[in-house]
Symmetry: C2
Subunit: 299 residues, 2 copies
């Protein structure tokens, strides 16, 4: 049992969440969402993505979003960039932290980015070099760490290799994503353990989707292993492009409720977070995807 | 790490689930639900309750339900009885297993049954004596084991005392219920550990509601402690009378998905179970409350 004393939540609702929602809440609401989240005690909020609007129209307003938010100097607002061009746009818009992404599954990476994993990594090299020169921190996402919708099982060795490469290239944190939410606790724990043998645990984050309802149990298993950074989305925003109608990211409120119950500090005001989740759900035209958020409202 | 090799699921959807649903699916559908569940590999299905129709109108058709189902001799169909009168009605209807219930919280028991815990236990004594003479197995439910909507915290010593009493009186299994779904993993684990010091682990079951989204994580923590019986409801049926609109029992499908992922045998056909859950959700006029059930349908 090695629970950390403190966990940092990386709130990914404004990006990973909204990118996978059918309803576009609009630029002003995105800005308000981030500003509301900034007042909950969160220290990391993934704000948007500088990706091609042709492929991801939901994020076409990335520069406006970044220009519109009230940035709290104590909070990091990473933005996703797929390549050097995205990095340039992000920097021109004032981004001070970026995130790059690749899959651990070769099949997924080819389908998703039309590049092999090695080609993706090479594409990130100049981003990481420029970021280092600019004093910009870079987060690295590794997706499909517990399974792939195309190739099925993903060898642990591939997850380890990609994680190690991103870390060696200069990513300060590697976020390990169960993109299709297919994992269960022992598999999550074994995956984290394997990666942690090559990348120091303080440089690792977990990013679990709740497609099969397993995310919080998987988070628990990984906390026991000592991970201290958890990605989640307020209101459980998002969905799964590979399973229509399925659940999205694990809900930040449910994660925070569990962490506080475990005596783990987060610095987050759960009531404020849950209120923001219900407000967002209203904009998305549905009930909050957080059970804790729903229960807190009923109290 | 002490995961059991095999877990028995006690399916409580037809009773605990439907009792707390707003929609009454009717007697014929209740019978069909139990018959469908009987074909999924489940070995324990809580069928109904012989309680006062004045207080629980949803269960007024208990005798018809029990008479209508096709009983598989390999499956136990426990029914809830609040007292000797309920026991007589249950036996007259052919029940071969019954369940009695009390809270660990004095305040909850008074509100819920108008009796102190000791009065409840005394009320069960003749039930257990007659059941022993009749060769009828009796399950014991202890509710509010991780918190009470009226008194707040519930001392572990009270949970232990009530559990020990029910076991000593002859209950073959004690189901420990987080009635308001307020617990988190370490508290669940500590509660189970305290009870298991007085009642043998093989005689214990866990019964968690998902009000705050914590149920599956709590199940995981208790499995690690060695518990091998888990109560759950197909489609996450039910709700929380103490938090309107909140989630109900942990969904059987999500529990089984996790157990199978952990390499733990259940004997259950997950696809059949998930199909039954979606069928039930249709009758209840909503989406299935099981995320695994939803994802499996989207595959």
């Amino acid at each position: 049992m090695g629970f950390p004393a403190e966990v940092r939540i990386v709130e990914v609702g404004p990006r990973d969440g909204l990118q996978n929602e059918k309803t576009d809440i609009g630029t002003a609401a995105k800005i308000e969402l981030i500003d509301r989240l900034s007042r909950t005690g969160l220290r990391s909020i993934e704000a948007t993505a500088f990706v091609s609007p042709k492929w991801v129209p939901q994020m076409a307003d990335a520069a406006q979003v970044l220009a519109g938010i009230h940035r709290d100097p104590a909070i990091a607002y990473p933005v996703l960039v797929p390549n050097e061009q995205g990095y340039e746009r992000a920097r021109a818009a004032g981004a001070q932290e970026v995130a790059v992404f690749t899959a651990a599954s070769e099949a997924f990476n080819l389908k998703n980015t039309n590049a092999t994993i090695d080609q993706s990594l090479e594409r990130f090299r100049p981003v990481l070099e420029r970021a280092a020169a600019d004093g910009v921190r870079v987060r690295g996402y590794v997706s499909t760490v517990l399974g792939c919708p195309y190739q099925g099982a993903v060898p642990l060795a591939d997850v380890v290799r990609v994680s190690r490469s991103l870390h060696a290239m200069g990513c300060y944190e590697i976020s390990l994503g169960d993109t299709i939410g297919i994992g269960t606790p022992e598999k999550a724990r074994a995956m984290l353990k394997a990666v942690a043998a090559e990348v120091p645990m303080p440089a690792l984050a977990i990013h679990f989707h709740d497609t099969y309802g397993q995310a919080l149990a998987n988070v628990l298993a990984c906390l026991e292993q000592g991970v201290a950074v958890v990605d989640s989305a307020v209101s459980g925003a998002g969905g799964c492009p590979y399973a229509k109608g399925a659940s999205g990211n694990v809900a930040s409120e449910d994660v925070v409720y569990m962490l506080h119950g475990l005596g783990i500090r987060t610095g987050i005001d759960l009531d404020a977070l849950a209120g923001t989740g219900r407000w967002l759900a209203g904009l998305l035209g549905r009930e909050t995807g957080s059970k804790a958020g729903k229960a807190l409202a009923a109290q």
